[in-house]
């Protein structure tokens, strides 16, 4: 079976890694914007978890709305979210699974001892039983300056 493909431009890839490094040892999180399985922008969002940001992230409903608003401003769609796993592999946890939304792409970047490493993408199966790993493609960065972060 062909896995779902998600393409990130060079700028997006680096912006996610930079966010992961900056947030270390805490988890970072943000939204993926784009069209047709191609991520052209990210929106860095504050990690508002109250359960320990080293191992958890939470995007509030208000920030979710902000991400949707940014997407429509850019004429894009909300494709999913990214987050980092500080000192853990880029594999989804049971907690990720329990809280996942269908159709969204979930990018995970492993940040080991402060430096960003492996990056993977995952999709929730329709029956919520597990994640399916997608294939992350690194595409040409057609708009070198589009990768941007809001909220810091």
């Amino acid at each position: 079976m062909n896995s779902r493909q998600l393409t990130v431009t060079g700028g997006v890839d680096e912006a996610i890694r930079a966010h992961g490094r900056a947030a270390y040892p805490h988890e970072c999180c943000g939204a993926l914007l784009g069209r047709d399985n191609r991520v052209s922008d990210i929106v860095a969002l504050p990690n508002t978890t109250e359960e320990g940001p080293r191992r958890r992230f939470l995007v509030r409903p208000s920030d979710y709305r902000e991400a949707e608003r940014r997407a429509s401003e850019l004429g894009a769609e909300l494709l999913g979210f990214y987050h980092s796993h500080p000192d853990h592999p880029a594999r989804p946890s049971q907690y990720d699974l329990d809280h996942a939304w269908p159709t969204f792409a979930y990018i995970i970047v492993a940040v080991a001892a402060g430096s960003a490493g492996e990056m993977t993408v995952w999709y929730l199966k329709d029956d919520r039983s597990s994640f399916e790993e997608g294939s992350l493609q690194h595409g040409e960065n057609s708009h070198p300056d589009t990768a941007q972060a809001v909220h810091g």
Partner: protein, 492 residues
Amino acid sequence: MAKILIPTPLRPYTDKQDAVDAAGATVGELLADLTRKHEGLKAHLYNDQGKLRSFVNVYVNDEDIRYLQKEQTPVAANDTVSIIPSVAGGAPTTTEQEVRAVPLHPDRELPTLTNDEVKRYSRHLIMPEVGVDGQRKLKASKVLCIGAGGLGSPVAMYLAAAGVGTIGLVDFDVVDFSNLQRQILHSTPDVGRPKLASAKDKLTALNPEIEIRTHEVALSSENALELFAPYDVIVDGTDNFPTRYLVNDACVLLGKPNAYGSIFRFEGQASVFATKDGPCYRCLYPEPPPPGLVPSCAEGGVLGVLPGMIGMVQATETIKLIMGIGEPLIGRFLIYDALKMKFRELKLRKDPDCPVCGTHPTVTKLIDYEQFCGIAPTAPEPIAVNNATEITAVELKQRLDRGDKLKIVDVREPNEYQINKIAGSVLIPLGDVPKRYNELDPEDEIVVQCKMGGRSAKAADFLRSVGFKKILNLKGGILDWIDKVDPSQPKY
């Protein structure tokens, strides 16, 4: 009919529509109608118990229904209902919040191990997580056990065996036969000896390489800080609330971890309190329960092996803290049920408003914990005033011998009554007194009696409140009766 806004990830289940009309007078009814029309949404909105998933937020006109009437929130025709995701996730972990072990004294100079010690601790040394350095940390460490009883026994024995260099014990009790069912530091020939003398003998025999310090005092607000000061970890093996709060507060004030455990009947609890960033006992229980609500082990009983299980948890956590390995039981509250053989874990958070470890503490020095726990200072004066309401064992014996007509009511439990009893007494357990007091004649002179006099005092109060005039409480209960009048009977 109201409009429900559908978020991006759920649109594949609504034929790509971003808004769907649904019928219903409340949010619950609307969502039920929505999932009837679009079956695929159900699994993503509701969990297996049929409750809305925690990361599914429902808003009625920009108001979160959690702050309205939840799923009962009424919805009018022109209202807009939005389903808004919270997006959450995180790295795999066994605990909700990662707690890393921190070595207690990273800069402490560590003693070397003698050849005998290398041999003794070889099963530790060959594990890389412990190794020679870990064993040297144990040798350098000082642990204070509050109490040399049920919990203190297994804790002290395993810490001594493991090679904790200095073990302090605080206790002032004497070994009693009723201790032997669980307090494995003490043996039958020790009955009548101070617990500390017996403990020191056992621990020294087990491991002569270590130092045992005995503190034969009652722990108090006056001596606690001074007593605790030389030690690295305090192990709370106390059986009463005033001492528990005292130990907690002293640990917080001194910044020393408190390896906490408590036991009652078939259930035990354990946690590690008062570490630098972790919660303390008061974050969990800011106030003690009303006096008398939670019975002590002497009143409620305790399964003999239970303190073994909980003491092992305390000893394990103490050793982990000293060596700085593993995930300590900080911010986690372990509850063990021996009958079900189940462990449960509650998550604990440091309370910023905690009166002792919070950001603006109101308790900055040790207080009067007896008073805090609502226990009146032990002044015998009320008894003197109410002399006519009590009878001593000797007086009772004299009056019975004289042939006085006295009805003796034993208010203990049937299993206690099986162990010993005063001849001629009738059994009405305290809990049954309210429904069975009409079996008694209010004109009779009645002596109520229990094990030590506490429960029978309550029974006496009750009987007086329903009109009984001549009620006497047997002072000191059946234990005093056996001591003074009938030593042939067993005590418990």
